[in-house]
Amino acid sequence: MKLLEIKNLHVEVEGNEILRGINLSVDVGEVHAIMGPNGSGKSTLAGVLAGRDAYAVTQGEIFYKGKDLLQMLPEERAREGLFLAFQYPVDIPGVNNLYFLKAALNAIRKHKGLDELDAVDFLKLVKSKLKTVNLDESFLNRPVNDGFSGGEKKRNEIFHMAVLEPTLAILDETDSGLDIDALRIVSDGVNALRRLDNAFVIITHYQRILNYIVPNFVHVLVDGRIVKSGGKELALELEKKGYDWVREEVEENSL
C-alpha cells in the first residue's frame, strides 16, 4: 500500500475542468516535485488533497494510507498526518501563533491517542523547532501571519510543519517570492524533516528549490495532466528548455 495514491483524478472549479486525469503514487521516504507553468492545476491539486471545498471532484479517487481521502474532513486529514504549506498563508489577527499551534498539535496528538502536551513541554518543543527555520522567539506571541513579511509567512509554514511532523507534507509554491537566504532556510527545514517514514510533495514553478531539496521524482503538470515524469535530471532539463518543450513533445505524441 502506497502512502498516497491518486487515480484518474478529474476536478472542476466553478464548472471549468482544471485537473483532467491525474495519476500519482507517493510512498514513504520519497520526495516528489510537481512542476508546471501558471494555470496548469498545481495549486488545485494541493487544495484537493488538503480538502478545500471549492473544488468538485467529478471522477477518480484518492487513497491516503489506504483510506478514501475525499471522504475525510480537512481536520481529519491533518490529524492523519497530511499537511499543506499554503502558497498564500492567510493573516489571522487576534489569534496568537503559539496558542494556535498548541491547539493544532494537541488535536493531532489526541487523535493519535497521545497525551496533550502541557505548556512547559510545548514551549520546549516549539523553541527547538524555531531554530530550524531561523525565526525569532517573538514570532510565537504574534498573531498568526499578521504583519509578517512574505518570507516570514513561508518560514512560519515550515515552522508549523516542523512542530506538527506530518507524514505527508505538500508544499504549495513555498519557494516563490523567497530570496536566496530564505530559500536555503526553508530547504534546510524540509531536509531536516526528511525521514524514511514520511514523504513530501513539492509544488513549484522553478527548478531552483530542487538544488536544495533533491527530489526522487519530478512530474510535469500541463493543462491538468501529468505529461512527463522522471528523476531529478528532468527538472534541470525543464529549466534549460522551458515548459514549451514538454508541451511540444506532448502534442507530437498525441498527433
Partner: protein
C-alpha cells in the same frame, strides 16, 4: 404625545408613585422628593419611547413597555444574598447594590483611601453631601426619555463615589449591581454618581448581574464627572438574566485634559440598551470607548453612543464590536457632534459586526454632525461573516470546524478587550465569552 395603548401602563406607574408618596412622611417636603414628583409628571407627559422616535427606530422595547413592572421600593427580604464568586475581584473596593438598594453587608469599603467617599447614594443625598448635589441630575436629565424619567421618579439608592483631587486610587473600585429573583416582575432603578476630582486616577469596574430566571427590568442611570486632568478607566460588564431587561443611560462630563477610557462588555440579558453620552466640554480631553457584545438566541443588544465635541483639541475614539448568532438583533448608533468652536477635533468611530447565523440582524448607523471646519472625523461600519479562508487554514492544521470558528470569533472580540488592563477582569471576561461561544 402618548399612544392610547400606552396609557394603561403609564397610569400603572403613576399610581405606583402615588401609593409610594402616600407612605412617605418627612421626606415628602425635601427638594429631592420634589424632583421625583417632577420626574413622574414628565414621565406621564412623554411616555415610553416609540418606534417612530429616531433614537428608538431599530429597538423593539415592547416587552419592557407591555409588562406592568412593580417598582422596587424596599430592600429584598432575604438579606442572605450571595455574590457569585466568579464576579468578585480580588483586592478591590467593593460597592454592592441589590435590587436598587445599597448593601452594607455585601460591600467592602475597608481599604478606601482618605478623602474618598464611596457608598450609598441615598445616604449621601440625605446628608446633602455637596459633591453629590453639585452633580446629581446634571448629566442625565430626567426628561431625556421615558426611562430616565422613570428612574428619576423611582430611584431609591445606588452608588455615590467621590475621588478627591490629585489622588491616585490604587485599588480598583468594583460596583456590583445585582437584580434578584422576586415573586413579582419588578423594576429596579439604580442611580449612580461617580465624581472624579481634578488630576485623580481611578479604575472603576461595574457589573450588572442577576440570578433571576424571570422577567425583570433594571433601569439604570449613571452620571460620571471628570475634573481637569482626571483619568478614569471604566469597564462595564452586563451579565443580566436570560429574561432580564436592562436599560442604561450613562453620561460622562469631561473637564479639560481629562482622559476617559471605557470597555463596555454585554454578554447576556434579553434586551440590553445602553445609551452612552460623552460630553467633552473643555480643551484637550481624550475619550476612548470600546465595546464588545455577544448576542445569541433572540437577544437584543443596542448601543447608542453620543460624543459631543464641545471644545477644541479633543480626541475621541470608538471601537464597537458585535457578535450575533441565532436570531439575535444588534444595534449600533454612533453619534459624533462637533460644535463650531471645537476646532482640531480628532474623532474616530468603528463598528464591526460578525454575523454567525442567517437569522441574526444588525443595524449600524453612524451619525456625524460637524459644525467646525478644521477637524478630522472618520467612521466605518462593517458587517460580515467569518472568513472561510481563515477557517480552512485552522482546519487544515487539525482543528475541528467548530473550534476553529470559536477561535476566530473569540479573536474578533478579544482585540477590543485590550483596553482592559485589570488582569483578573480580563481573564474573567474571556472565560465568560468562551463559555458563551461554546454553549452555542
Amino acid at each position: 404625545m402618548v399612544d392610547v395603548a400606552q396609557n394603561s401602563v403609564l397610569q400603572w406607574y403613576v399610581d405606583r408613585f402615588k401609593q409610594y408618596e402616600d407612605k412617605l412622611n418627612g421626606e415628602r417636603n425635601t427638594s429631592y422628593h420634589r424632583m421625583r414628583k417632577q420626574a413622574i409628571q414628565k414621565f406621564s407627559d412623554i411616555g415610553f419611547p416609540q418606534r417612530r422616535d429616531e433614537e428608538w427606530r431599530f429597538t423593539n422595547i415592547q416587552p419592557v413597555i407591555n409588562q406592568h413592572f412593580l417598582p422596587a421600593l424596599s430592600q429584598p427580604v432575604d438579606a442572605r444574598i450571595q455574590i457569585d464568586k466568579r464576579f468578585i475581584l480580588q483586592n478591590a473596593i467593593r460597592l454592592v447594590v441589590v435590587d436598587g438598594f445599597y448593601s452594607d453587608a455585601l460591600s467592602d469599603v475597608s481599604n478606601i483611601p482618605d478623602g474618598v467617599i464611596a457608598g450609598s447614594f441615598a445616604r449621601a443625598l440625605k446628608s446633602e453631601v455637596p459633591q453629590l448635589l453639585n452633580h446629581f441630575g446634571k448629566y442625565v436629565p430626567a426628561e431625556k426619555n421615558g426611562f430616565t424619567a422613570l428612574n428619576a421618579a423611582f430611584y431609591q439608592d445606588g452608588i455615590f463615589l467621590y475621588v478627591p483631587p490629585a489622588l491616585k486610587v490604587e485599588a480598583p473600585i468594583q460596583v456590583l449591581i445585582i437584580s434578584t429573583q422576586r415573586d413579582n416582575p419588578m423594576t429596579f432603578s439604580p442611580r449612580n454618581l461617580y465624581v472624579m476630582g481634578e488630576n485623580s486616577l481611578s479604575i472603576l469596574i461595574e457589573f450588572h448581574i442577576s440570578d433571576s430566571t424571570d422577567e425583570y427590568f433594571s433601569n439604570v442611570v449613571n452620571e460620571i464627572a471628570l475634573g481637569s486632568e482626571a483619568q478614569l478607566e471604566y469597564s462595564r460588564v452586563t451579565l443580566e438574566g436570560a429574561s432580564g431587561y436592562h436599560l442604561n443611560s450613562t453620561s460622562v462630563y469631561q473637564n479639560s485634559g481629562s482622559k476617559f477610557l471605557s470597555n463596555d462588555v454585554v454578554l447576556s440579558g434579553a434586551i440590553v440598551r445602553n445609551d452612552f453620552s460623552i460630553s467633552l466640554r473643555a480643551p484637550q480631553c481624550e475619550c476612548q470607548l470600546n465595546g464588545v457584545s455577544v448576542g445569541t438566541d433572540s437577544q437584543l443588544i443596542d448601543h447608542h453612543t453620543a460624543v459631543e465635541h464641545g471644545a477644541p483639541q479633543c480626541t475621541s475614539v470608538q471601537v464597537y464590536k458585535t457578535i450575533l448568532d441565532g436570531r439575535a438583533h444588534g444595534v449600533f448608533n454612533g453619534k459624533i457632534l462637533v460644535r463650531k468652536l471645537a476646532q482640531k477635533t480628532d474623532a474616530k468611530q468603528t463598528n464591526r459586526t460578525l454575523l454567525l447565523s442567517d437569522d441574526a440582524v444588525m443595524n449600524s448607523k453612524p451619525q456625524l454632525e460637524i459644525f467646525a471646519d478644521d477637524v478630522k472625523c472618520t467612521h466605518g461600519a462593517a458587517i460580515g461573516q467569518l472568513d472561510e479562508e481563515q477557517v480552512f487554514y485552522l482546519r487544515s492544521r487539525g482543528i475541528d470546524e467548530r473550534t476553529a470558528k470559536n477561535i476566530l470569533t473569540f479573536a474578533f472580540a478579544s482585540e477590543s478587550l485590550d483596553g482592559i488592563h485589570h488582569e483578573q477582569l480580563r481573564s474573567m471576561i474571556e472565560l465568560e465569552l468562551n463559555s458563551k461561544l461554546n454553549q452555542k
